[in-house]
Structures are given as C-alpha cells and as structure tokens.
Point group: C2
Chain length 420, copies 2
C-alpha cells in the first residue's frame, strides 16, 4: 500500500473569503504617513493610485472579506493548489520530520503572484480604470499582472528594472505575449541598471499623471497579503486531510512579504505554530534592518510605512532571487517580527542553491531562486528535527518554479555563483 503524497481539494473547495490579519495582530499597525505632511494618510490620499475597494481592504478591521465571484472564476483555473508531502526529500535527509509544501507554482504565471493580481485587476475594472501601471524586478509580478489584465481587458504597462530587462528577457516576453507593454526603468536614465524602488517611482508617476490609470503593487501592502491568505487557508484544510492537527513550523521566503504572509497569517493566532521568514543575507531587511518609518520607493513618492528597512536608498547586490531584493518589508510582517511572533533568518545565495538543487533531485521540481530560500530554511529545520529526534510537521510555501531562472542554476552547476 503506497502512501499518499498529494492532498488535493476539489475545485469547489476554493476559499470564498480572505482572512484579514489586521484585527488579530499582537498590537495595532502604525498608520502610513503622507510623504509631504507626515500626517496619517486617509482613503482620499490613496485614491489617485488605487480603487476605493482596495483602499478599504487596506484599512478594514473586518475579520473576513468575501471574494467576488468573478475573481473566483479566474482563480479556479488553478486553485485550490496542491499540498504535497515531500516524502522523497524527507528520505534524502533522513529526518523524522514530516515536510509539506503548498505548490503555488501551478498558476499560469508560475508563482503565487496571480492570487492578488486577479482581484486587483478586477476591482480596477469595476472602478472604471482602463489602464494599470506597475513595476517589476525579475518579472514574477509584472507577468502576473499582465495575465490578470488580459483576463479583464485592461491595458497594462510594466516598468521593469533595466538590468533584468536586458539580461533576463524571458518574463518580458511572457508579459508581451499576454498583451502588456514593458519598458526598462529608470526611464529617464538609460545608463542606470535600475532598482525596484526606482521602478516604483516610474510606475507611480505614470499613474498619478493620468485620469484613466491606476497603480498596482505586488507585495508589501495589507490588501496584497490579504489576497494571498488563500494559500494558508487552503493549506490548513489540506493538512487536516493529511491527518495533521497543525504545523509546528510555517516557513516562507521573504522579500516584500506576500508569499510568506499568504501562508503564515492564517496560522498566526495558533500559538503552537512557529512562523519563520527566510531572507537573503545580501538584503537582510528583517534580520539587520531598522524598525522605523521609511518610504516604499527611491524617490520618496509613496507614503511612509512603519517597517523593517535598510533605507530607501539601499541598493541590494544583484542576486538571482530578484524578488527578495527590496529595502523594506510588509508592515504586517515587520510588526510580527518586531513583536516576537515571527522569527527571521538570512542565508547567503550559495546555501539556498544547495537546497534548491537537493530539492530538484529528490522531489523533481525546479524551484525559483526565491523559493530556494524557503527550502533552505525547511531543510535546516528538518535537520534540527533529526538531531533532536523530533517528528515535527514543517510546512513551507513553494512560491514559484524556476523554469525562467535556469541561467542561475547554470551558474551554480558551473561554480560561477557568487555570494554577493
């Protein structure tokens, strides 16, 4: 009798409400501040950028938010996603721990990002928006928004960090295939390699300047993490199907915080569950940053948020996990770490690729470099369990596949990977 490794939910079991962590946080979230007046921002301050439905979701104290049917119709193309027990990895490690991962790589764009791209496109469509702008680094977010805009017939313009635009053209091609326009950022300085913070400035400037245009952000903000909670809500139900009462540790990689928040927040109020953020040691926001107000972008155009930050002018070294190269972090995630509810650890790039390749050879799938960080964390927890003889349940977010990051694996295979 062979043992089950996949715990699927029927399409009809897709969550119909998002979990709002705000009312359950250990302490209230400090409000964002207006970049000019440094006073708390109100809904009207955000109206040039976002439709009112998203602004309400950003601030609401309601514990659950209904998911519109039109959004569910599209999310159902790939949701519920599989929960997989990584038995072959467990065997390779010789650990008594039981390792589960939530496979968010099955979406059309290959990551968890469409979970929020779809509702963001929907609420904008409903609001009469004709056009969305956004920024993207390696392209995970930009391609997800391009997919979502194609579903709702919205125009989409993506400002892509120039270094990625030139060196990693594949997600640019993906965005264009879904009908979006992609330009390298910063637009006013063709000699600059660009940064996420600078691309945010470009996209915000474009949106503010046009009546028909709004701006869309793929991480950091409360409503983004809210949309991602589908991941953890499904995982909880699937773990129960697997006969597990609760995970002992929930692990995710952390850049802006959305994939980690998505899987971790639904377990936040369960004190039996440790929550663990993994970040690159070259961009150690949670482990070495300052907990303070800072801008979300380089130019200082966004509201100031209370978060862990390395300074909005910090330029992280060019690692392959482009999605984790952000100077700040989600205020919700930052608060959880600051309050001691969530732990954080940082790893150099080479250690995360060691883990990613071990996963690829045992479980078969090639993870995105960002996901490699979560896998590094889970392998180290599994080895701790082995040392301590503990059969803990470890749950991590398999946030995306690495099919568009194979040049990074080539660098690793050929010994060219640098620990920037």
């Amino acid at each position: 009798m062979t043992e089950q490794t996949r715990f699927d939910l029927p399409q009809s079991a897709i969550p119909t409400a998002w979990y709002n962590a705000l009312p359950d946080l250990p302490e209230p979230l400090a409000p964002p501040l207006h970049p000019g007046t440094r006073e708390p921002v109100g809904p009207d301050d955000l109206a040039p950028l976002f439709p009112m439905a998203l602004i309400e979701q950003e601030m609401t104290g309601a514990p659950w938010i209904d998911v519109p049917g039109e959004v569910l119709d599209i999310l159902r193309l790939w949701r519920p996603t599989p929960l997989v027990r990584a038995r072959r990895l467990e065997q390779a490690l010789g650990t008594p721990a039981r390792i589960y991962y939530k496979d968010e790589s099955v979406s059309p764009a290959g990551s968890h990002k469409p979970n929020t791209a779809v509702p963001q496109a929907y609420y904008n469509k409903l609001d009469g928006t004709k056009r969305l702008t956004t920024e993207t680094g390696a392209g995970q977010w930009g391609s997800s928004l391009a997919f979502a805009c194609a579903q709702f017939d919205l125009e989409c313009k993506v400002y892509m960090v120039r270094a990625s635009y030139e060196q990693k053209p594949y997600r640019r091609m993906l965005m264009e295939t879904w009908g979006s326009t992609v330009v390298p950022s910063p637009i006013d300085d063709p000699s600059h390699p660009g940064s996420l913070g600078a691309a945010i400035s470009d996209a915000v400037r474009d949106a503010v300047g046009r009546e028909d245009t709004h701006y869309s952000l793929g991480s950091v903000l409360n409503h983004v993490l809210l949309h991602q909670t589908m991941i953890g809500i499904e995982a909880k139900e699937q773990l129960a199907k697997a006969g597990e009462s609760h995970p002992d540790v929930v692990i995710g990689s952390c850049g802006g915080g959305s994939n980690l928040g998505g899987i971790a927040l639904p377990f936040m109020t369960d004190s039996r569950v440790r929550l663990l953020a993994i970040e690159p040691s070259s961009c150690p926001t949670l482990t070495e940053g300052k907990f303070d107000y800072d801008f979300g972008d380089v130019a200082g155009m966004t509201p100031l948020m209370n978060m862990y930050t390395l300074g909005h002018d910090f330029v992280p070294p060019s690692i392959h996990a482009g999605g984790l190269r952000y100077h700040g972090d989600s205020p919700v995630i930052s608060l959880l770490v600051h309050a001691g509810r969530m732990e954080a650890a940082a790893y150099p790039q080479s250690k995360t690729f060691d883990a990613a390749v071990q996963f690829a050879r045992s479980e078969g799938k090639i993870p995105a470099p960002e996901t490699g960080h979560a896998i590094r964390g889970v392998i180290d927890e599994a080895l701790r369990c082995k040392e301590e003889g503990r059969d803990e349940v470890l749950l991590f977010n398999y946030s995306g596949h690495g099919f568009l990051d194979l040049s990074a694996y080539d660098d690793y295979n050929k010994g060219r990977l640098l620990d920037a």
Copy 2:
C-alpha cells in the same frame, strides 16, 4: 452558481495498468526489420539497447500491462493530471463545442515525456543497467530522462542536437541540474548543426559500445506509446466525471507520435470518436510522407520500421516546435492513419502561434510550440462546430508548457516568425 472547469482525480485513482493497443489495431503491425539482414528482428537483436522487460512490452499481445509500484510512486508526484474545460476559450471563439484539455504540462519536466522516462529508467535499473544514453532535440525528452535517472540513481548522457545546444541552452541547464551529462551532437563534426536522426546514431553507438549502458528513446516505439496511454485512460474517467459519454474528436500534435498516441489510443476502439493528428507543414510526415520501411536514424543503425516517412536523410527546417521535427513516425500511428482510423492535418508555424497566443490570452497558460499545433487543430474544429451549429466534445492533449520556448513567442510578437 459557477460551473466547474477542472475535473481532478484523486491520487489514488492513478491507472495501475497501461493499455496495449497492439491487439486492437485494425490490422497487425508489420515487424521491424534488422538493418543488416532485413529479416524481422527478434528480442535478442534488441538486447544490446533495451532491458528485456521493455522488449517484451514492445512486442506483447497482452491487452493490459501492470504498472510497477515503484513507477507509480514517482508518477504520483504529478499524476493523475488535471482535465480542464477551456470555457474561456470556448467563449472567445463563440463555439457551441465543449473543449477539454488534458494538462500534461504539470510534470516536473513540464511535458508528457516523464510518463515513459520513469518506467524506462525503472526497468533499466532493475536489469542492472548503470547508465543510459539518449538523444534530444529542443530538450523535452532529454530533460525528462534526466529527471527519471535522478530518481533511480542512474547515470545519464544526453546527445543534444548542436543547434539547440547552442541556441536554446535552458533545457541543457535543466538536465545538468538533475545531474545528467549533456554533449552537442554530432560529436564527430563540431561544424554540423545536427539533427535528431544524427543524435540517435550517437546515442545508439555509445550504448552498443558499453556493457553497463543501455539506450532510451522518447517516442515512436510501441512501449513508449504504451506508457503514455495513462493520459487517455485518465481522460476517459475524467470526461465521465464531467458528464460526457465520449469525445467526438481527440486531437494531439504529432512528431514521433507519443503524446498523440497517449491520449488517442484508449479511444481507438470507440467508433464514435474521430482521432486527429496535427503536424507542421514543414515536416509533413503523415500528410505527405510515404508509408514504407525506413530507418529511425540518419546513419541506418536502427531497425527498419514500417511507417510514414519523409526519408531518413530528410532534414526538416528549423521550426520552434523542435519535438515535431522527425522524418518518420510511430508505426502504430502510421498504421492508424494508413488504415483510415486516424486523420492528419498539417499547419504552417505562424498559424500554430496564432492559436497558442489566443489560448494564452483566454486560458492563461503559455503552451509549448508543439502543443500549439494541437491547439490550432482544436480551434479549427471548434470553429467548424460553430459553423455547423454542433455542440461536439473536443478533447486535446496539452502536452507541455512553453516557459522554455519564450524566445519563439518573442519572434511571433515582434513579427519575426518565419513560415519555414
């Protein structure tokens, strides 16, 4: 009430036997002939290349073959695969047809190929083989065998068509990440761009020359199509779950014939079902080839097979659907076409990309260029249904994703695609 679009089977419903089409063919298959004597080959003639279990599967008249538990353990990492109703594509086309696709892109290598790579590696391991050689064009097959060999700790050496090795390095990186060795072919002529037929010669020569080594082929042969029948067996059960008594048309792209055979053969004995092969008009084996004995490779080292062929020295133009660039075809598929049980149609490259992009924008997923051929076929059938006002059930094989073929989409998006 939203309508269901995904018809999933539980992991426990994975087929435990493969369907053998040989005894049900409209007429007996002509035997392969020895390249030297031109006499029918016996099992011993094939023993330098394949383990006896696979040779038996190549020739058996048994209607069903049990799948070993060790093979099921690995296939269950992604099987059963989803059956999806493409409602958004139906809407975009305004067709009364109901379009279903079997999503084989969810395997670790991103295509249907691991369905046979895993049992081939398994039977070799069981036979004491230490090392496998194979050829690959764009790399779909080579990467699948690399994945399978990693699961059974077998060495794997892949001879990759030189033009692909140099211009499309990503699947090479995938193979290396799974621990395989990849070299450009032909090995004895670094100035030659290579071909599938020449790479087969290289791989066969290597295997014949070493005691510890066998050869592995990813399409054409009977045992390969046998392993792929999981696709159609699952699809039949899933269509029943969707409330459909049978498909009216089953459609697949056709290069060597394995993805088409996999989905079509389990419907072969149902006379209500039309079977349809789609091939590139630049390599029109079924539509313009000769039904005759020919070699499988350029050098004339393989047995002669009775099949549709363009001549074993035919070099197809360099289209993006590398998996469809083969001078011959599966003898089983060839026989079905010759006997009038299966239809075939050929399309130029640009028409298949029109279809692939229409699919990507409506259903979200980016298909492999090979899969784009099947989608062209299904769209044209759906438009026929619209014209005739018929609500037929169309089933096609979504044989692989296009994440590693985005440069082809870039050519299409930029108007650079040639109808070679």
